[in-house]
């Protein structure tokens, strides 16, 4: 096998599983170490740079990093990466002086941003310090998008939104709130240098079943209902509530209902409990609030009496699998079931809708009536019009909206400077030895044996009384420290230098997880079969050395390396070194105005 090529930003980045999995590539272990040191403001700013909304995300992020976290492969549960972010946000000092200063001069370019959700706010944050004149339009009275309109206050207090949205709007931009854009054509006529569309996926799917019309007064579309609650237009619901759907919106609907008078609230889903779209922790929270989740039930009709909803009829189904392993829901043969209720919340999906974009302005739509958007540049087929967030590729989540916002901002910047938007500077990176002495490193390499800590919650009875009372109390400083210590510092890389190795086996003997093997060379598949410990995850790379003195090669399976540095401590010649990998993502702010790129 060829020796592993570790040059370039990708090899070591991939070893940092969480950072690799994070759409915005937040330097997770770096901020976790700062939290352990009590340097909350520093930890916050690292997050702020990458993901823009640390306080919001520390409570609500979909956390793709956690299933990726190496700790979850070595023991039961990953590091509580998301909730540690909140520790930084909760405990930081006033960081206003660390925010980018206003641009020294305007650059003469005007950009319109439609929608003021996380995607557009990220674009605004990246472009404002460069001297752009930004105009943000949003139909809602306050900026924040679905962060404000959809996510219930008991998960995300309004002050947190105000604070973090405020950091961005404070950079200097014109906010046209309460102002819907009804025609893109008209907007383009205002001669903006570029337009960013971040209007989200604002339409909730309805269920067109018998009885829908007759009982309409008590059947609500989930996301519309949630935004009415958020904006204070609705503050009551019936005693018996049925929520239809199995995603996160359904979880927010049922939990909100419990706080607005719903005593007998149940969620009914078509699929099996396991296959529900909602995150496991959201389901757990719903169950904890005494909300049963009934699965394998397909709604058939709404029952009503004199124009008043009386309940829902369900067909009971079961999962069957065809020879290709595909699942189909088939009638189980059991009799239909009727559940009486006072209100129904329909949370069966969310869609894009662009009634305000004319179809004759050179902006093409695909067969699903979605704008054709380049997956790298986020530019539409009409040059100068960019998309990002849920508006670009359908509903996802905040962190994807932010990541796409960063990329769109790079494109807009290059576009406005007359550069090729396809030609994008690669991220910068560096490797720095952490060695301080014979067995001293500039990171704490003593591995904690603790299991994942639970985030303390407010008492349930109290929580259910007020829809604005935050349920999670967050880790305090002590718990935050202990949880932070669980992080394995995966960014501190094991870097191997062949010429120094004397093949004494010291690293093999000390490695607690049997990562290292000296063996005859071979092709990857063959090598994977000959390692000291079985190679369990083929997507995890092997670090294969050049030929050593005995003709053998060193193979390190990156999979479950604890980054404990013991191999380097035991190596008599320094053939192993622990080096911290840092990645500098390409953001608009990290490129100089003239277009020549300076990404470090």
């Amino acid at each position: 096998m060829h020796p592993t090529r570790t040059e370039g930003p990708d090899y070591y980045h991939k070893v940092v599983d969480c950072q690799w999995a994070c759409p915005a590539h937040t330097p997770v272990p770096e901020y976790i170490r700062l939290i352990a040191e009590g340097r909350y403001s520093d930890a916050y700013m690292i997050n702020w740079k990458s993901n823009v909304f640390p306080g919001v995300l520390g409570r609500t992020c979909d956390r793709p990093c956690e299933p990726a976290c190496r700790r979850g492969r070595v023991e039961d549960e990953p590091v509580a990466i998301c909730r540690l972010k909140r520790v930084a946000a909760d405990n930081k000092d006033d960081i206003s002086s660390r925010l980018p200063p206003p641009a020294a001069s305007r650059n003469g370019k005007r950009i319109a941003l439609v929608g003021a959700g996380p995607a557009a706010l990220t674009v605004a944050r990246d472009l404002a310090p460069l001297g752009y004149d930004l105009v943000l339009y949003d139909g809602d009275a306050k900026a924040g998008g679905m962060i404000r309109s959809q996510i219930p206050r008991f998960r995300l207090p309004e002050e947190v939104i105000d604070e973090e949205v405020g950091y961005i709007t404070g950079l200097g931009m014109e906010m046209r709130l309460g102002q819907r854009v009804d025609s893109l054509k008209d907007l383009l006529a205002e001669n903006y240098d570029a337009v960013f569309v971040g209007t989200g996926a604002p339409r909730g799917r309805d269920l067109d079943l018998p009885g829908r019309e007759e009982a309409r007064a008590n059947i609500h579309v989930g996301i519309d209902w949630l935004s009415s609650v958020s904006f204070g237009h609705i503050d009551r619901i019936g005693r018996r509530v049925i929520v239809l759907g199995g995603g996160n919106t359904a979880m927010d609907c049922c939990r909100t209902s419990r706080r607005l008078g719903g005593e007998d609230v149940k969620v009914v889903v078509r699929s099996g409990f396991e296959e529900m779209k909602a995150s496991p922790w959201e389901k757990e929270d719903a169950l904890h609030e005494d909300i049963p989740i009934l699965n394998f039930r397909v709604p058939k009709a709404f029952t009503h009496d004199n124009g008043k909803l009386t309940g829902v009829v369900f067909e009971v189904v079961e999962a069957q699998y065809d020879d290709k392993g595909r699942r189909r829901l088939m009638p189980s043969g059991e009799p239909d079931e009727h559940y009486p209720c006072d209100d129904v919340l329909v949370a069966v999906g969310q869609e894009n809708s662009f009634p305000w974009i004319e179809r004759d302005i050179g902006l093409e739509f695909n067969e699903w009536d979605m704008p054709k958007v380049d997956e790298v540049t986020f530019q539409s087929t009409r040059s100068g019009v960019f998309f990002g967030g849920d508006a670009a590729f359908g509903p996802k989540n905040i962190i994807w909206a932010v990541a796409q916002g960063h990329d769109a901002a790079v494109s807009i910047h290059r576009y406005c400077q007359g550069e090729d938007v396809q030609d994008r500077p690669p991220p910068g990176f560096s490797l720095t030895s952490q060695k301080m002495g014979i067995h001293e490193w500039s990171y704490d390499n003593d591995i904690s044996n603790d299991a994942r800590f639970r985030v303390p919650q407010r008492d349930k009875v109290e929580s259910l009384k007020d829809v604005r009372l935050e349920v999670e109390l967050g880790f305090d400083a002590g718990l935050g420290f202990s949880e932070a210590q669980r992080c394995l510092n995966c960014d501190v890389q094991t870097v191997f230098a062949e010429p120094l190795c004397i093949e004494c086996d010291a690293c093999v003997d000390i490695c607690p997880v049997d990562c290292i093997t000296f063996t005859e060379d071979g092709e990857e598949e063959d090598l994977r079969g000959r390692l000291n410990a079985p190679s369990l995850h083929l997507d995890q790379d092997l670090l294969v050395s050049d030929k050593l003195k005995t003709g053998r090669v060193l193979v390190k399976d990156e999979d479950v390396c604890l980054h404990c540095g013991l191999c380097a401590e035991r190596c008599p010649t320094g053939a192993w070194d622990m080096q911290r990998f840092t990645l500098e993502m390409t953001h608009a702010t990290s490129m100089t105005g003239g277009g020549a790129c300076q990404n470090r």
Binding site: E75, H439, C504, L536, C564, P572
Partner: protein
Amino acid sequence: MTYLAKPRLHHPSLAANELGFTRRDYEGSVSTLCAGCGHDSISAAIIQACYDLNLPPHRLAKLSGIGCSSKTPDYFLGASHGFNTVHGRMPSVLTGANLANRELIYLGVSGDGDSASIGLGQFAHAIRRGVNMTYIVENNGVYGLTKGQFSATSDKGSKSKRGVENHDSAIDLVSLALQLGATFVARSFSGDKAQLAPLIRAALAHKGAAFIDCVSPCVQFNNHAGSTKSYDYVREHNEAVNRLDLISSRAPIHVDYEPGTTTTVTQHDGSVLALHKLAEHYDPTDRIAAMTYLAQRQALGEVVTGLLYVDPEADDLHNSLDTVTAPLNSLGSKELIPGSAMLAKINADLR
């Protein structure tokens, strides 16, 4: 060395043996030897062998003398009995312990200084008496612990780190052990665990005096050009006569090698050793031939490794002394104080 304890976390697929212990359960406290010391690899091989043998840790007693090598019992089998004796005196303490409690498995760990210099006499007598033990010398050719003076196993003509030549003849512990009647004699290299671990396993299972001379480079004082105990020198001059592949108790043996390339040795207790031959005519049960072969190869500058000799009919000190079969600590006052009638009988016999 490191100051940190090895993390408890282990590879998710780390398997348990028949006793329910993983290999990690056979570890001891973290080593304080120099990074890269060969002795640490021998500890790892001992750990592997004990795990493979499904050895209950509390059934093993580790004894050692003084030296870096003699410190190592602290770094493996943390749940076993241990006795760190005085310099060169491990063999007699082991002999005494063995006589007192024959039910434990005895592992003596020593260095070339500990066994070939100050403890040479002790070494010789424990071996010739046939004490049932595994005796490992972690042989680096120097007194590592006292900063690298030549030891008695240093080859004549080899050079110290400072370039000083050794003028004294070397003691070859393997030849000595053969001569003294050890019933299991092997040599190996700390840098070849695939060879070493099965040898330790077989030695632990052998009933009689089993001796392993394990070349184990001292990275600090004896791993330079001019040394004959360095990683490079041993790798270049290593001539293995065989590889021990299988050890089984009575089970019929199935070995995949071509006919003629495998030797099996059935021992007294019915256990079987299967050896993959590397030197064509080498017969590990012929003591005289082994001694001759060793002498010839040594003259050529080769380091002969493998299972060099095993006596299938081996027996031990308890057998020759016809001692009581139970450990002394299990005897009650009835057995220990047989009474005046018995005393009278004994006295009568002596008249």
